[in-house]
């Protein structure tokens, strides 16, 4: 059996680890376009913040590929999948045969058209280790940095480089920060934190044109800058599967076994679109835990087991300058709000189930107990919901369920 994985990030590692639990002898080849062993992309802002190092950023230990008997082909790009001959064409002219294939190609930065963008010399995206290193090279204590995008990537970048530069201005078309994961109150709290840390946020605005070292905004405001970071959004890398005739919507469509519409071709992670277990709608749930678990599920199926991943849902844990935010699920139904000293907790209940939550500041402890209620679609009538709303406690479960949770845990 020859397993081939295109992409060398989290889903790829999940796939390798699950295959090797089942099949120790089949060959595994990993083709990745970055010249690095698997590292954690979300750590690039921590690298610039000196909270980690390039060595520590590696997602698994140095012996990982050797121990799992993986043939690594780095710095190479796959150009096409031939599903008839079950071969991949690589950009070095070679062909690679596969029996089972995983596409874990992730996503790439989306850059909207902006007038004179190409005239900006110090222009960066912020997704990969090389992006971070390239950005680092130009940063000085005198740098005025303009970040386009007040989402997770743009704001983590701002945090990561704050102490290295003179000023940071974040511009976003949305009227508030982190619009994809927070409600208005949450956005407002995070924005206040950013402002108190010296970051300028210009919201509900966009760049009309770049003129020399100025960005002219639609509102008429002018922002002078030396370094530009583009963090507007990402686009799933779908072309390999699309061109091979596989079904693609915004991302590559996968079923609960993580298989695409093509025989023996699986997909996982940020390039894939799966069913959100809360809404039962198709969604790109581009978060790291889903990438790992989809890769893992794909691997198990590729190695001959019958595995399902039907627990994909949105969830994010993120912090800015010590203000922590944890969110999960969807923000629909009736809500319960608890305001605290440094933040708040908002729980969303629909059809007798917890479907989502937002925790900010001092409300984040033991958040996973809430996540488990969302993930397991626990009937809130079976637990002491008033108690668990106040504080995430296992005490809120019935004695029998508690005994099962704690006593039978495997």
């Amino acid at each position: 059996m020859h397993y081939v994985i295109v992409g060398n990030s989290i889903a790829s590692v999940g796939c390798i680890e699950s295959i090797r639990k089942i099949d120790q002898t089949g060959t595994i080849s990993v083709i990745g376009d970055e010249p690095h062993p698997c590292y954690s992309r979300p750590l690039i802002s921590y690298l610039l913040e000196n909270k980690t190092t390039e060595e520590k950023m590696t997602y698994r230990n140095d012996a990982f590929y050797e121990q799992n008997n993986v043939k690594l082909m780095l710095g190479k790009r796959v150009q096409a999948i031939n599903t008839e001959t079950k071969q991949l064409s690589i950009d070095d002219g070679s062909l690679v045969d596969y029996d089972k294939l995983l596409i874990a190609t992730g996503s790439c930065p989306f850059i909207p058209p902006m007038k004179n963008l190409e005239s900006v010399k110090n222009r960066f995206t912020f997704m990969t280790l090389d992006d971070a290193k390239n950005l680092e090279k130009v940063l000085t204590k005198e740098s005025r940095v303009l970040i386009i995008g007040a989402g997770l990537i743009g704001l983590k970048c701002a945090e990561g480089i704050r102490d290295r530069v003179k000023t940071i201005t974040v511009v976003d078309l949305a009227s508030r920060v982190l619009v994809s994961i927070l409600d208005e109150a949450g956005s407002s709290l995070v924005e206040k934190k950013l402002i108190s840390e010296g970051i300028t946020c210009i919201l509900g605005d966009s760049v009309k044109e770049f003129v020399n070292s100025d960005a002219l905004l639609t509102s008429g405001r002018v922002v002078g800058f030396d370094v530009l970071v583009l963090a507007v959004g990402v686009r799933p890398n779908v072309s390999l599967v699309k061109e091979a005739g596989g079904e693609v919507n915004r991302a590559i469509l996968i079923d609960e076994t993580c298989q695409t519409s093509l025989a023996d071709v699986y997909a996982a992670g940020d390039c894939s679109e799966s069913i959100d277990c809360i809404t039962n709608e198709r969604k790109v749930l581009a978060i790291l835990p889903n990438a790992y678990m989809q890769g893992e599920t794909a691997g198990r199926n590729m190695a001959g087991e019958d595995a399902f991943f039907d627990k994909a849902m949105a969830m994010n844990a993120i912090g800015f300058f010590g203000l922590h935010v944890i969110t999960a699920g969807i923000y629909q139904g009736s809500d319960k709000l608890f305001t605290t000293e440094s933040g708040y907790k908002r729980l969303f209940v629909q059809d007798g189930k917890l479907v989502g939550y937002i925790l900010i500041g001092d409300t984040i402890n033991r958040a996973g107990i809430y996540t488990s209620l969302v993930r397991n679609k626990t009937d809130l009538a079976t637990i002491d919901f008033d108690l668990i709303s106040e504080e995430p406690l296992l005490m809120a479960f019935a004695k029998k369920e508690r005994a099962h949770k704690l006593g039978d845990a495997q």
């Binding site: 750590l43 790291l288 844990a317 033991r366 958040a367 296992l394 508690r402 704690l406």
Partner: protein, 142 residues
């Protein structure tokens, strides 16, 4: 694999397990030095309400959601034991988001800590079990 289990009906709610945990993971030889005048931050925590009490620590899940959610690769499963490499942890709190037992918490440096069954400190076997006066906490295979 042997794990720490808590028999709720025997728990006195005395919190000694928390103190033994804090001591075992303090790196101090003397229990007095480790605990006197300090706010402890143990890896096992007692829940109590209305006369019911029980301790909660890491379940060392066979399918660990914390490991699969860790963005830094700091958590791993070694022979069934879930361990953390604190030097890799950046304190993103993804594991707090993921763990259904609420069994991970930040340490004094802001990175995560968790029960490693006293295999990574000098005690060698779970101190909470040794310190439980009513044998409510046991270390056994189930």
């Amino acid at each position: 694999m042997k794990r720490v289990y808590v028999n709720e009906q025997w728990c006195l709610g005395c919190h000694l397990c928390e103190y033994y945990c804090a001591y075992a993971n303090s790196g101090q030889e003397s229990m007095v030095k480790a605990l006197k005048d300090r706010t402890i931050n143990p890896r096992i925590k007692v829940e109590e309400k209305n006369g019911i009490s029980f301790a909660v620590n890491c379940r060392h899940c066979n399918e660990p959601l914390c490991v699969k959610s860790c963005i830094a690769g700091a958590l791993s499963q070694v022979d069934g034991l879930i361990v953390i490499d604190a030097s890799k942890c950046v304190g993103c709190y993804s594991c707090i988001m993921a763990c259904p037992y609420g069994a991970l918490m930040p340490n004094e440096e802001g990175v995560m800590q968790k029960c490693e069954l006293c295999t990574t400190n000098t005690h060698g076997k779970p101190a909470c079990v040794q310190g439980c006066p009513n044998k409510a906490i046991v270390f056994e295979e189930r």
